[in-house]
């Protein structure tokens, strides 16, 4: 395989997996918050906090990807 092709394939696989990880991070945060709320009986607070953390985690993936693409 040529060097350029293998690099393209690598980028393709990496960026195509980015979207799924953003979505899954948000949902992990959300469901963790809901579960903790039921556990500690603090209805909306922890859901909101962990939803925020999940969204932050999702967007952190995008930031890392942006940083990588600038470095390459």
């Amino acid at each position: 395989m040529k060097k350029e092709t293998s690099k393209t394939i690598r980028e393709l696989a990496y960026y195509s997996s980015l979207g799924l990880s953003v979505a899954l991070s948000i949902f992990i945060g959300l469901f963790l918050g809901i579960w903790l709320d039921e556990k500690f009986d603090t209805k909306p607070v922890l859901t909101m906090v962990f939803l925020g953390l999940g969204i932050a985690a999702g967007f952190r993936n995008l930031m890392i990807a942006a940083k990588r693409s600038r470095k390459l």
């Binding site: 997996s17 799924l20 991070s25 992990i28 962990f50 953390l53 932050a56 985690a57 952190r60």
Partner: protein, 229 residues
């Protein structure tokens, strides 16, 4: 979704283990894939020669191609990771392809199999991290400055959980979707020509998904070997 006719399930029914395999078709077909891989490995390594025989030749091209590709990503220090990464690739690839044969069920079309693979991968990234950085590996999780720890730590933990889920869900979803589309087309459009394009696409999907799984696990390994940012 239970297939109408699965060879190995019928075989196990015949020897009186039907109640086990009906609930765990994926486990049975995982054994089949394992048997195929062991057999192929035995055939390739039976008598290795300097001038290779056909089976050995195919394996040499495959293995050395994968190894070069992997070392390009990880750098030379990551060469010892190759056995795990290559086994993941070969297992997922054969596991995906086996679903195209009538009477076989792809073990990767079940969430349990893919979650097991993803767990092995992600747990092993932490093993690598501890091996390379020792106790200082915790710095990967706390960010650059101390007052950001309460924000960065949960974000990193959620990110690592998302790795497991995204690895397992992607493979499972693709293979399950492929099976489902094939099943619906077989039921609706007859058994011969309508599902053919989907099966041709299935070969492509099998290769791409195995490759993506391999590539992402190698990237996670590399991330664990790097210094904390």
């Amino acid at each position: 979704m239970e297939h109408p006719y699965l060879f190995f399930v019928k075989l196990f029914e015949a020897i009186g283990l039907g109640h086990f395999v009906h609930g765990n078709v994926h486990v049975l077909y995982m054994w089949v894939v394992m048997a195929i891989l062991i057999l192929l490995g035995w055939l390739a390594g039976k008598n290795t020669k300097l001038v290779p025989e056909p089976v050995q030749n195919v394996f040499e091209v495959l293995i050395s191609g994968l190894e070069e590709f992997m070392v390009e990503i990880t750098g030379e220090e990551g060469r010892w990771l190759f056995p795990l990464a290559a086994s993941i690739f070969l297992f997922v690839f054969i596991g995906n392809l086996i679903g195209l044969v009538p009477g076989f069920f792809p073990p990767t079309a079940n969430l349990n199999t893919t979650a097991a693979l993803a767990l092995v991968t992600v747990v092993f990234t932490h093993v690598i991290g501890i091996k390379y950085h020792g106790a200082k590996y915790y710095k990967h999780f706390i960010g650059p400055v101390w007052w950001m720890i309460p924000i960065i730590l949960p974000i990193e933990l959620i990110g690592h959980a998302a790795r497991i889920l995204s690895l397992s869900f992607r493979l499972f979803g693709n293979m399950m979707g492929h099976e489902l589309v094939l099943g619906i087309l077989f039921a609706l459009a007859g058994a011969f020509f309508a599902p053919l394009p989907i099966m041709a696409l299935g070969i492509f999907v099998a290769l791409v998904q195995a490759f993506v799984f391999f590539l992402l696990s190698v990237m996670y390994f590399t991330g664990a070997m790097e210094h904390a940012h």
